[in-house]
C-alpha cells in the first residue's frame, strides 16, 4: 500500500471544523459516566485522549494514561447502531376526527447530515448487516433516511480489549470497507485514506503532509498485532448445522442457570434488530403515536402468541439468541450475525461469554459438518 497523507495530531481539529462547515453534525467518542459513548462533538479536546480500557467478562473500566492518542481503546457499550436504528422512534401517528374517521400520518424521518468520527471495523461490519436487514426486500424509510445522511470516518483499531474476537469473525481490527475516510492513529498523528468519492473529496481539503513510510508500516503493524493479541475465537466449521444439530444439548440448561435473561447482550449487540411496536395514545385521546422500540429475544413478550409464551424459560431464550446470532443469520444474510466486538461479554452482568458456550455446544459435533 502506498503511504497515505499524514494529518499531524495538532491538526485533527481541521477535520472536525471542515465537517461542521460542510453542515454535518459531528459525532465522536467521548467519556460519559465511565464509558465511551458516541455523542455530538465540536472540539478535539472532547475526545477520550489518553483513555485506555480494561474489559473482561462482566467488567468494563476506563483508565487515564499520558498517551497522546485519542483512540487507544476498543469500544463502548452502544456502538453506532442508535444513529441508524433508533432505540425508540415514532413511525406514524393517527388522529380521530369528529365524525369518527381516522387519519394516518407518517412521522418525519431524520435527514440532518451526521459525520461519525472514530467508527470501528466491527461496527462497520455490523452496519453492513443492518443495511441488509432494513434496506433490502422491504426498505425501511426511517432506517434508510438515517443511514443515507451518514458520513463514516473509521479509525483502525490498535487496542483490542481482552473480550474482542473480530479477527476470528474476519471483521477487524483493520477496517476494510464501508467507510468514507479512514485513519491510522500513531502517537504523532493520523494516516488518512479514502474509501468513497465523498471521502476522497474530503481528503483533498485536509492539510495533509507527506507520510513517512516507516511510520505508516509501523501503524499498520499495530492493527496486525491487535489481531494477533486476540485470545477468543469462534469454533471452526458450520455453526448453523452444529447449533441446530444440538438443540437438546445439556449446555443450554447449564448456561440458563447463570443467565439472568436481562437482555443486556442484545441491547449492546451492534447487529440485533428486534423491535416491538406500540401504540401510545395522547392524553386527550384525539391522537395516538405508533412507536417502535428495541426489543430483546430475552423478554417474555418476544415469543407471545395468542395467549401463550412460546419461550417460557431462560434456556429456550438463550438458545434462540445463540442459534439465531451464530446459526440462522448464515441462511438469512449469508454470514454470521456476530462481528466479534465482544460487547455481550463485557456487559453481561454475570459474564457469560458466547464463544465459550459455543465451544461446549459445538465440541461434540466438530468435524461432522464438513
Amino acid at each position: 500500500m502506498e503511504t497515505p497523507g499524514f494529518l499531524p495530531m495538532a491538526r485533527l481539529q481541521t477535520l472536525i471544523d471542515t465537517l461542521i462547515d460542510d453542515g454535518f453534525r459531528c459525532v465522536a467518542p467521548q467519556v460519559r459516566d465511565g464509558a465511551i459513548l458516541y455523542d455530538t462533538l465540536d472540539k478535539v479536546k472532547q475526545l477520550p485522549k489518553g483513555v485506555t480500557q480494561e474489559q473482561s467478562n462482566g467488567r468494563y473500566r476506563l483508565h487515564q494514561t499520558d498517551s497522546t492518542r485519542n483512540f487507544a481503546w476498543a469500544n463502548g457499550p452502544q456502538a453506532i447502531k442508535p444513529l441508524t436504528f433508533a432505540p425508540r422512534e415514532e413511525l406514524w401517528y393517527s388522529e380521530v376526527k369528529s365524525d369518527g374517521s381516522l387519519k394516518f400520518y407518517q412521522a418525519p424521518t431524520e435527514t440532518e447530515p451526521v459525520a461519525i468520527l472514530g467508527v470501528r471495523a466491527c461496527d462497520l461490519a455490523a452496519l453492513a448487516l443492518q443495511d441488509q436487514h432494513f434496506q433490502h426486500s422491504f426498505p425501511d424509510p426511517y432506517y434508510d433516511a438515517r443511514r443515507k445522511r451518514l458520513l463514516l470516518i473509521a479509525v483502525h483499531c490498535t487496542h483490542p480489549a481482552e473480550t474482542c474476537f473480530c479477527a476470528s469473525t474476519g471483521d477487524g481490527p483493520e477496517a476494510r470497507s464501508g467507510y468514507d475516510l479512514s485513519l491510522y492513529e500513531t502517537d504523532l498523528g493520523y494516516f488518512v485514506t479514502a474509501g468513497s468519492l465523498a471521502g476522497e473529496m474530503l481528503l483533498h481539503r485536509l492539510p495533509l503532509e507527506a507520510g513517512d513510510a516507516a511510520l505508516f508500516a509501523a501503524a499498520r503493524g499495530e492493527t496486525g498485532a491487535a489481531a494477533d493479541a486476540q485470545q477468543r475465537q469462534l469454533p471452526e466449521g458450520d455453526l448453523q448445522a452444529m447449533l441446530f444439530g444440538n438443540l437438546n444439548h445439556p449446555q443450554w440448561q447449564a448456561v440458563a442457570e447463570r443467565c439472568l435473561s436481562c437482555g443486556n447482550c442484545t441491547q449492546v449487540c451492534p447487529t440485533c434488530f428486534c423491535h416491538s411496536e406500540n401504540s401510545v395514545p395522547s392524553i386527550s385521546g384525539q391522537s395516538t403515536a405508533h412507536e417502535r422500540q428495541w426489543d430483546s429475544c430475552f423478554s417474555p413478550g418476544h415469543s407471545y402468541i395468542h395467549g401463550i409464551t412460546l419461550r417460557k424459560d431462560t434456556a429456550s431464550r438463550y438458545r434462540q439468541w445463540l442459534t439465531h446470532k451464530f446459526g440462522s443469520w448464515h441462511e438469512q444474510y449469508g454470514r454470521s450475525g456476530c462481528v466479534g466486538c465482544g460487547r455481550c461479554i463485557s456487559w453481561c452482568p454475570v459474564g457469560i461469554d458466547p464463544t465459550e458456550e459455543l465451544a461446549v455446544i459445538c465440541k461434540d459435533s466438530a468435524g461432522d459438518s464438513a
Partner: protein, 281 residues
C-alpha cells in the same frame, strides 16, 4: 419511498358473531383508490390496527374474486384471545380501524392445478383455508378432487356449518368433519381430525395437501399423510408467530431462519418439518 408501516383507514360494514368468542368483521377500505388497488391471494394476511390499542395479524378470509368484483369487503375472522383481539371483536358497524397489507406468501395454487387438493384444518385454522376453498370452487375445472377436512375441540365450536354442507354437495368433493367432544346434533366423526385421514380418497401420485391449525394437529396430520403415501413436498402448511411489522424487520416471527411473515405464513412441509414440535421455536 413507499412506507410499508402506514395503515389505510377501513370501516366495519358488518359484524358477524360466529361463536361467543369468534367474530367476523367485514371491512371496506374507505379510500376508493386504495380499494381498487387492493388484491390478495388466498392464505395472505392483513395487519389490523385498532385505534390507540395496537396491531394484530389476521388472515384474510375473502377470496381474490371478491376484489375483482369490487364488492371489496375484507372479511377477517377473529378469536378474542389477547389485548387487541378482545377489543377488536367488540367493534360495531360504522367503526373505523386501520388496515395494511396484504402480507406473506399464500397457498401454492399454481402447483395445485390439475391435482387433487386436500384441505385439512383444525379450530380457527379453517379461516385462512376458506378463501382457498372458494378459489378452488370458482375455478373448479382446473383441479381434481377436493376434500375439506375440519376438526374442532367441541361440536359447538364448528362455524360455517352451512358452508361445509354446501361444499359436501359439490361434485368430486369430500367433506369430513370431526369434533373431539360431540353433542346431540353432531352427526360426523367424534375424535381427532387425524382419525379422518384414512377416509380421504388419496391418489398419492396427484395430490397436494394444505394444512392449517394448531401445530400439534398439523404435525400429526402431515406425518399421517406421509404414512399414507404422500411425499413431504406435497404438503403445505400455514404457520403463526408473533408479528408486529409483517415485513421481516421486527424479528418476532422468526422460526429458525424463516421469517414467518414474509417467507410464509404458508410453508412447504420439508422447510419446517425439523423444527416443528421443538419446544421454544
Amino acid at each position: 419511498m413507499i412506507n410499508p408501516y402506514l395503515p389505510l383507514e377501513a370501516e366495519v360494514i358488518e359484524r358477524v358473531q360466529e361463536t361467543p368468542s369468534i367474530v367476523t368483521l367485514r371491512l371496506r377500505l374507505t379510500d376508493p383508490d386504495a380499494r381498487h388497488r387492493f388484491y390478495c391471494a388466498p392464505g395472505q394476511f392483513n395487519m389490523l390496527y385498532l385505534y390507540g390499542v395496537g396491531e394484530v395479524p389476521i388472515s384474510i378470509k375473502s377470496g381474490p374474486q371478491s376484489f375483482l368484483d369490487q364488492t371489496l369487503l375484507l372479511d377477517h375472522t377473529i378469536r378474542a384471545v389477547g389485548r387487541v383481539t378482545r377489543a377488536l371483536v367488540k367493534l360495531e358497524p360504522g367503526a373505523r380501524l386501520g388496515v395494511r397489507g396484504p402480507y406473506g406468501r399464500g397457498w401454492p395454487l399454481n402447483l395445485a392445478q390439475g391435482k387433487d387438493v386436500h384441505i385439512i384444518t383444525g379450530g380457527l385454522g379453517c379461516a385462512p383455508a376458506v378463501s382457498v376453498v372458494h378459489e378452488l370452487m370458482r375455478q373448479r375445472s382446473r383441479f381434481g378432487r377436493i376434500s375439506v377436512v375440519q376438526g374442532v375441540k367441541h361440536a359447538d365450536d364448528l362455524i360455517w356449518r352451512d358452508q361445509y354442507e354446501h361444499w359436501a354437495k359439490q361434485p368430486d368433493t369430500q367433506v369430513l368433519l370431526a369434533a373431539d367432544q360431540a353433542n346431540a346434533s353432531w352427526r360426523w366423526h367424534t375424535g381427532m381430525v387425524t382419525g379422518l385421514l384414512d377416509q380421504l380418497h388419496l391418489d398419492t401420485e396427484r395430490s397436494l395437501a394444505m394444512l392449517c391449525g394448531p401445530e400439534p394437529m398439523m404435525r400429526a396430520s402431515a406425518e399421517r399423510l406421509i404414512e399414507l403415501g404422500l411425499e413431504p413436498e406435497q404438503i403445505w402448511l400455514s404457520m403463526e408467530r408473533n408479528m408486529q411489522c409483517a415485513i421481516g424487520h421486527c424479528g418476532h416471527c422468526q422460526f429458525g431462519a424463516a421469517f414467518v411473515c414474509k417467507d410464509g405464513p404458508v410453508f412447504n412441509y420439508p422447510a419446517v418439518r425439523e423444527l416443528l414440535g421443538t419446544r421454544g421455536f
